[in-house]
């Protein structure tokens, strides 16, 4: 098991190096001289020269790549051109909100989705099956940012029930929770639909498999057949999807954070894009990617915990 974990972690390193190289090369795609583009209207020759030297933009490509890699390893993601703060501190401030949003939306969605799907598979003729189909269609039909807009339209404007803007950080946990409901639902709907359909299909396959028939032939009680024997096999496909889901959520969070103007990594990146504050954009994306790669790693490893055959592949 340990060897498998090490193998997966080691495989992450070349991937991350590749990520850094791509992120680094993005600056070369920028039309015109990066420094003047970043400074925009405030670009005076001195400021441009000073920025060029600070960001080593004047050096040759490999040297700049070296500086960048070393910088990243030391945790120095550069300084925001716009606000002068260290990029890493900006991110540190914004990250917790996004993680809270991602965990709450994915967590709830996974929980509801898996239970709904499993139940629909067990009680095949019950109305739950219909609910799963509707929810999964809903999930497909409404991407997260459209859902956010509609939810805001209904629950903040027409039926002023829930707060529309901000993360309610000042009002303590209850206030933060109420501020979290709509954004988390917006992000979660798609996932409830997708996971419940995936879970229903895999649960149905598992329930028709030989080893479940064997358990029934030996009068193993229904409850342990469903909730232990079948569930552990049926949940395997959902785990790998949840690993990927974190990536989608980080993406989706960008919209939800902007619509509900909640602080977060997504909003930080987009605002930096508007302000052409490139170091912050670069740093923000790097952190989001590292989070995503870690999530996939955790999904792979938990995959191996559930399914023993994976380690010996």
């Amino acid at each position: 098991m340990l060897k498998y974990i090490i193998k997966r972690t080691l495989w992450m390193i070349p991937t991350l190096i590749g990520v850094l190289i791509i992120l680094f090369s993005l600056t070369y795609l920028m039309p015109g001289d990066p420094a003047s583009v970043m400074l925009g209207p405030r670009a005076t020759p001195e400021l441009v020269a000073e920025l060029n030297s600070r960001l080593h933009l004047d050096r040759s490509m490999p040297v700049r790549l070296g500086y960048y890699l070393v910088g990243v390893l030391e945790g120095d993601l550069g300084i925001s051109v716009w606000s002068g703060h260290k990029v890493s501190s900006l991110i540190a401030e914004a990250l917790p909100h996004t993680v809270l949003l991602a965990v709450s939306s994915l967590g709830i969605a996974a929980f509801i989705g898996i239970l709904l799907g499993a139940f629909a598979a067990i009680r095949r003729d019950s109305p739950v099956g219909g609910i799963v189909t509707i929810v999964s269609l809903l999930g497909v039909a409404m991407p997260d940012f459209v859902a956010a807009l509609l939810l805001m339209l209904v629950f903040c404007i027409h039926i002023p029930l829930l707060p529309a803007l901000g993360a309610g950080t000042e009002g303590g946990p209850v206030n933060m929770a109420t501020h979290l409901i709509l954004p988390a639902t917006a992000l979660g709907i798609g996932w409830v639909g997708y996971l419940s359909r995936l879970m229903r299909e895999s649960m149905m396959d598992v329930l028709d498999s030989d080893y479940i028939r064997t358990a029934r032939a030996f009068a193993v009680p229904k409850s342990s057949i469903v909730y232990r024997y079948a569930l552990k096999n049926a949940v395997i496909p959902s785990i790998s999807v949840i690993g990927l889901g974190v990536g989608k959520l980080l993406g989706g969070a960008v919209f939800v954070e902007i619509i509900f103007s909640r602080p977060g990594l997504g909003k930080l990146i987009v605002d930096a894009v508007y302000a052409r504050d490139f170091p912050v954009v670069q740093g923000g994306i790097l952190v989001a990617t590292v989070l995503f790669v870690l999530a996939n790693l955790i999904a792979d490893i938990s995959y191996a915990f559930v399914d023993p055959r994976i380690q010996y592949e």
């Binding site: 070349p14 991937t15 991350l16 590749g18 990520v19 791509i22 993005l26 600056t27 795609l29 920028m30 039309p31 269609l137 497909v140 039909a141 409404m142 991407p143 940012f145 459209v146 807009l149 509609l150 805001m152 339209l153 404007i157 027409h158 990536g247 989608k248 980080l250 993406g251 989706g252 960008v254 919209f255 902007i258 619509i259 997504g266 990146i269 987009v270 894009v273 508007y274 052409r276 954009v281 923000g284 994306i285 989001a288 990617t289 995503f292 790669v293 996939n296």
Partner: protein
């Protein structure tokens, strides 16, 4: 020598020579009838073709000019004159939605075609020489691009290249090609090991012919199904980028921009958000149902069930 076979087993009357395979119109009829049989795929197909129709013939279909402003009647509710009402500049929402189809279909088809071509070529190359250096290199490339949360990378690329229709397509294609690459590679691996490929080799078929007649058709079908599903995702991302103001430049009519304006005036008018949202929802459901039907239709085994 062939005559030897023929007269050895020639029994019964000379029946009219049977063609070796169904002709093309015949094949399309079979695939179409299979798609129709799948629950919901028919509706999916109808709405997808309606969208494509609107995209091509927007100027004939749409009731009015999408950019014609009529400030006096702005934020109008749906009426006979403006079936879906007007936006903050008094422009007819229905016309803008129809023109919006054009952007959505254009971007979706553009991004999907580019990313699938690159993805499939790399995927087949990697799958075909499995275990060699090139295979590891391509997998490495796929893993890198796949590690980025897709929308965030697309957003960064557009920000760097500057927002325009072409840049959006490039950004979306670049972030999506590993999705096809991995499917193509997995298919190549499984098809390569199959007995019908071995049968081709055992028959003395040239390498080129085996790839053309046996490997490619069995890889394309699953990839085509991915195209269907990915079209839906591309439409979401196009409207997402436009919503962030990083997609198509206003005033061109795109669902994302309509939602962006809708968000600005969310207090005053609900229509500006509602109708584009409905359009996106219909497009999404249509594409996913249609690609589900396609998946069953293209696979001869599923078709029988």
């Amino acid at each position: 020598m062939e005559t030897q076979i023929r007269n050895q087993f020639e029994t019964g009357t000379k029946t009219a020579p049977v063609s070796l395979k169904r002709k093309w119109p015949d094949k399309l009829r079979v695939i179409f009838s299979a798609v129709v049989k799948v629950k919901g795929a028919l509706w999916g197909g109808i709405f997808v073709s309606m969208m494509i129709l609107c995209a091509i013939g927007a100027q004939w279909i749409s009731p009015g000019d999408p950019n014609a402003q009529d400030i006096v009647h702005r934020f109008a509710d749906p009426s006979l004159k403006h079936l879906l009402g007007t936006d903050y500049l008094g422009r007819d929402i229905l016309s803008r939605i129809i023109y919006g189809c054009r952007i959505a279909v254009l971007v979706a088809f553009g991004a999907v075609t580019i990313s699938s071509i690159i993805g499939v070529l790399l995927g087949v190359a990697a799958g075909y020489n499995e275990g060699k250096k090139i295979d590891y290199l391509i997998i490495w490339l796929f893993d890198i691009v796949r590690s980025f949360p897709q929308i965030i990378l697309a957003l960064a690329i557009v920000a760097v290249l500057g927002p325009s229709l072409f840049n959006v397509v490039v950004a979306l294609a670049f972030t999506a090609f590993p999705f096809y690459g991995r499917v193509a590679r997995a298919q190549t691996l499984s098809v390569k090991e199959s007995d019908y490929v071995k049968a081709g080799e055992a028959m003395g078929l040239e390498r080129r012919k085996i790839i053309l007649r046996h490997i490619t058709p069995n890889i394309l079908a699953p990839v085509i199904v991915c195209l269907g599903m990915d079209m839906a995702t591309m439409i979401i991302w196009e409207s997402g980028l436009s919503f962030l103001g990083l997609g198509v430049r206003p005033p061109t009519a795109s669902w994302g921009i309509m939602l962006r304006n809708g968000y600005k005036y969310i207090q005053t008018s609900a229509w500006m958000i509602l109708w584009p949202a409905v359009a996106i929802a219909i497009a999404m459901i249509a594409f996913s149902l249609f690609s589900e039907g396609l998946r069953i239709a293209l696979d001869p085994k599923e078709r029988e069930r």
